[in-house]
């Protein structure tokens, strides 16, 4: 995956080089200009947080398609809380996160207790929350305008810390924490175990229903955090389009990062790189002045190429593993113990 990422990066440098001349590109690439880098890392941060959230449910073998609609619904509610209703911002944030967690709990219970398919449950969410957002706001765009009283939130979404965009820093923190949770904690091991074989996990005494439910709650609460950041980033929320398709950016980032939609696979590093690749792609499309209506064509194409490449490389890796496997097999009736 890293190799593909670098290839993409280099490919882009060459593309730019072919237009402006290699020397000029390397001397002063637009792409590597400070403004663009800030822009790029900010969007990586904004999209990364909920991609990691998506990763946790994908690892259990589930999916959450309602993310984008949750952005719209939570964004609208947040705008009301901070705008006309004049809630203090910490309370508003708490309400938003709590609401998000309730939605996650609802999804999680439907998946783990009622045994509905995650795709179906969250697809209904995708439709319902979007509709609810439009209804609450009477389909009007509402914004935070230049209201004051919550500068900290605005800084977290649009400001910088140590010359780095604040969302990117937040994303790094989320990655660090979730990296430990997924890769070193008991809970993380349970998530992978369930993703690989839920029944065997149950037979090993894992409370699979609780773990699956909690994965949806965790996913939704990070989604709630993202909803606040993205709301402030756009500063106004058009309920019909705000955040639409964002869940698919997250799924794409996870898939590019090595998650399997069958569950049980994937890593934080992978999701980080996956998110970076997708944002890089959008950035390139932008900078190249490619017609923005073609953006999805380019992205779809590149993701497909990357995943296919990974499949080919992966097949080779599996072949190597099988070789080890076969080697292990005859070693198994060890001659020493035979007589």
């Amino acid at each position: 995956m890293v190799a593909i990422f670098l290839a993409l990066f280099l490919g882009y440098a060459l593309l730019e080089g072919s237009q402006r001349g290699l020397a000029a590109t390397f001397a002063n690439p637009v792409f590597l200009g400070q403004a663009n880098l800030l822009n790029l890392t900010r969007s990586i941060g904004l999209f990364g947080i909920f991609s990691v959230a998506m990763g946790t449910v994908i690892i259990t073998g589930g999916i959450d398609l309602s993310v984008g609609s949750m952005f719209a619904l939570l964004g609208v509610i947040l705008a009301y809380l901070l705008g006309p209703d004049k809630f203090p911002w910490p309370l508003a944030v708490a309400i938003i996160i709590l609401l998000a967690m309730l939605i996650g709990l609802f999804h999680g219970l439907l998946v783990s207790r009622a045994r509905l398919q995650p795709f179906v449950v969250t697809l209904c969410g995708l439709l319902a929350y979007r509709g609810l957002a439009r209804f609450i706001s009477s389909d009007q765009t509402i914004g935070f305008g230049s209201n004051t009283g919550f500068e900290l939130l605005r800084t977290l979404a649009t400001g910088s810390i140590f010359n780095l965009p604040a969302p990117f820093i937040l994303f790094l923190i989320v990655c660090a924490v979730m990296g430990i949770v997924l890769h070193s904690s008991v809970y993380g091991r349970y998530l992978y175990a369930i993703g690989r074989n839920e029944e065997a996990a149950l037979y090993s005494g894992i409370n699979t229903k609780l773990v699956v439910t909690s994965a949806y709650v965790l996913c939704a609460s990070l989604t709630g955090v993202s909803a606040i950041l993205i709301g402030f980033y756009t500063n106004s929320i058009s309920p019909a389009s705000h955040g639409s398709f964002f869940e698919l950016y997250a799924v794409a980032a996870c898939v590019l990062g090595g998650c399997s939609l069958r569950g049980g696979e994937g890593s934080i590093l992978g999701i980080f790189i996956g998110t970076a690749m997708i944002q890089l792609l959008r950035n390139i499309v932008n900078l190249q002045g490619i017609d923005s209506s073609l953006e999805f064509v380019v992205m779809g194409g590149v993701i497909m190429i990357a995943v296919s490449l990974d499949q080919v490389l992966g097949a080779r890796r599996r072949a190597r593993e099988t070789r080890v496997d076969v080697k292990g097999a005859p070693a198994e009736p060890a001659p020493a113990t035979r007589n």
């Binding site: 996990a201 894992i206 070789r323 292990g328 001659p335």
Partner: protein, 513 residues
């Protein structure tokens, strides 16, 4: 000696890094039943896959009817009259019987529409079904059939391709004794019709019952053969492992008679009209016999908390314990070694280490973060103790052989503090060497005060390993045999007794008439 119908000469097959077969010979006469025996990994399946066209041999020749042939595809094998019946059945259970028999060779009608001619399928299927003794209409959906009946469908399919050589790979691994006997009489019929059978099995008693000649494979080489007169248990074990294995029962040392585990009127939701009361004494291995579908695994699942009981309680040393989930069961030291280890026992795409520590992961963690070192120590300890043959604790469970996978399932539980271990078909698909090790382990656990309940459909195993045998039928306990009353007949009497009316209910297909 008649001209052999099939001769494999000097077959060698190398996979990268390993020689799977070297210079293997096998010849089969028309109407002969040749048993091919050997431990897991001895090369039986590879040899049969070469015969069936799945693999190509690197060296050696295959002769059918005295003529050299090349088998490059499965279709080539079929044309030559070779048919493989795999261990895992390859039937499609969303089709009906006829559809399975003629899969890929469906008679067509309707001209260019190329419709499947169901009438013709039904007509032609009937003949083959009659031959294998399966009296069901060809349009019976496969999903309504028992595994034994599905097996008969596979054989009917083989006959429909005019097979003259049928290879059966562990055909009885999921059959009950009566079903297996039916299979043997079918093999005898095939034989008298001139069809040759290559029979692969770990169950030596069966080989004894049906083979005309036994050919042994060991580490990819011929290890000898036995004519009919010399086929017996010891000689076959020698052929497979090159040494004798003593399966004789050691003396039982019963522990404190007050220490016992009692199931008091446990009602599993699968059989709500029957309750099971059973006690297990310390120091003994209690066998649980019965036909497939007798409710033994269901009882195990209920005791282990996979399904909640409708009533009853488990009493450990006089104290009743509540089991609502496997988590509870494990907390009380009640463990299950499930029948299907790849599906329930292990997470096969995880490493040995991760599988061992999974049931009690919190023990290896501080503040929820797992310590790799302490995990590895336990895993390593268990690997050595159970002599799981692999190079490291990071080997994925799926890359272990059947016997070693079963030991890994045990390692999971032995790293905790077991009170009661329920073994559900502990040696299914396990080679003879590992089998003996698993028996020894059960015995030593029992001697160390662990209560052992062993569910088994293998008569040899039930009679050879248990100290007492409980027998179930259709969700009810029909009796408990003491060691002095052990015999195959006694067990079968309890397992099937109220004759065919009850047995018929297990074969839903028959209800259709």
């Amino acid at each position: 000696m008649p001209e052999p119908i099939l001769e494999l000469k000097g077959i060698s097959k190398r996979f990268p890094g390993v020689v799977a077969l070297s210079d293997v010979h096998l010849s089969v006469s028309p109407g002969e039943v040749v048993a091919l025996i050997g431990e897991n990994g001895a090369g039986k399946s590879t040899l049969m896959k070469i015969l069936g066209g799945v693999y190509q041999a690197d060296e050696g020749s295959i002769r059918v009817d005295g003529r050299d042939v090349k088998i490059r595809h499965v279709a080539d094998a079929q044309k030559l009259g070779v048919s493989l019946i795999h261990q895992e059945l390859n039937n499609l259970d969303n089709l009906d019987i006829g559809g399975n028999i003629f899969l890929g060779r469906e008679p067509l009608s309707g001209g260019f529409l190329r419709l499947v001619d169901r009438k013709k399928i039904a007509e032609q299927s009937r003949g083959y079904l009659a031959k294998v003794g399966l009296n069901l209409p060809p349009w019976t959906p496969l999903s309504a059939l028992s595994i034994a009946q599905q097996q008969l469908v596979e054989i009917a399919k083989a006959l429909s391709t005019n097979a003259r050589i049928i290879v059966m790979d562990e055909p009885t691994s999921s059959l009950t004794l009566t079903e297996a006997n039916r299979l043997f009489s079918l093999i005898a019929e095939l034989k008298s019709a001139g069809v040759s059978v290559i029979y692969i099995s770990h169950r030596l008693m069966e080989v004894n019952a049906c083979a005309d000649r036994v050919v042994g494979l060991r580490d990819g080489k011929n290890s000898g053969q036995l004519p009919k007169s010399e086929i017996n248990h010891e000689s076959m074990v020698r052929l497979m492992v090159g040494r004798n294995i003593d399966l004789k029962r050691t003396e039982t040392h019963l522990g404190d008679p007050k220490k016992r585990i009692e199931f008091r009127e446990i009602i599993s939701p699968f059989f709500p009209s029957h309750s099971i009361s059973l006690d297990i004494r310390q120091g003994e291995v209690l066998g649980l016999a019965g036909l497939v579908g007798a409710g033994r695994s269901e009882l195990a699942m209920t005791v282990f908390g996979i399904t909640r009981p409708l009533g009853g309680e488990i009493v450990v040393d006089g104290k009743a314990v509540q089991v609502r989930s496997p988590h509870d069961a494990i907390a009380h030291g009640i463990y299950l070694v499930p029948e299907d280890r790849r599906k329930h026992g292990l997470i096969i795409s995880m490493a040995l280490r991760e599988n061992v520590t999974l049931p009690d992961l919190w023990r290896y963690a501080s503040f929820g973060v797992i310590s790799y070192g302490s995990e590895l120590r336990t895993a390593e300890e268990q690997r050595k103790k159970l002599s799981i043959k692999t190079s490291s604790c990071e080997t994925l469970a799926k890359n272990l052989s059947g016997g070693n996978q079963q030991k890994l399932v045990l390692a999971k539980w032995l790293s905790l503090s077991p009170k009661l271990i329920i073994f559900d078909e502990p040696t299914r698909g396990v080679d003879v060497g590992s089998k003996a090790e698993i028996y020894r382990l059960m015995r030593s656990l029992a001697e160390n005060g662990v209560f052992i309940l062993m569910i088994s459909s293998d008569m040899e195993e039930v009679l050879g390993v248990s100290d007492r045998i409980a027998v179930m039928r259709e969700g009810a306990l029909t009796g408990v045999l003491e060691a002095k009353d052990f015999s195959e007949e006694a067990v079968m009497r309890l397992a099937v007794a109220p004759v065919h009316a009850k047995e018929g209910r297990q074969m839903p297909g028959q209800a259709i008439h």
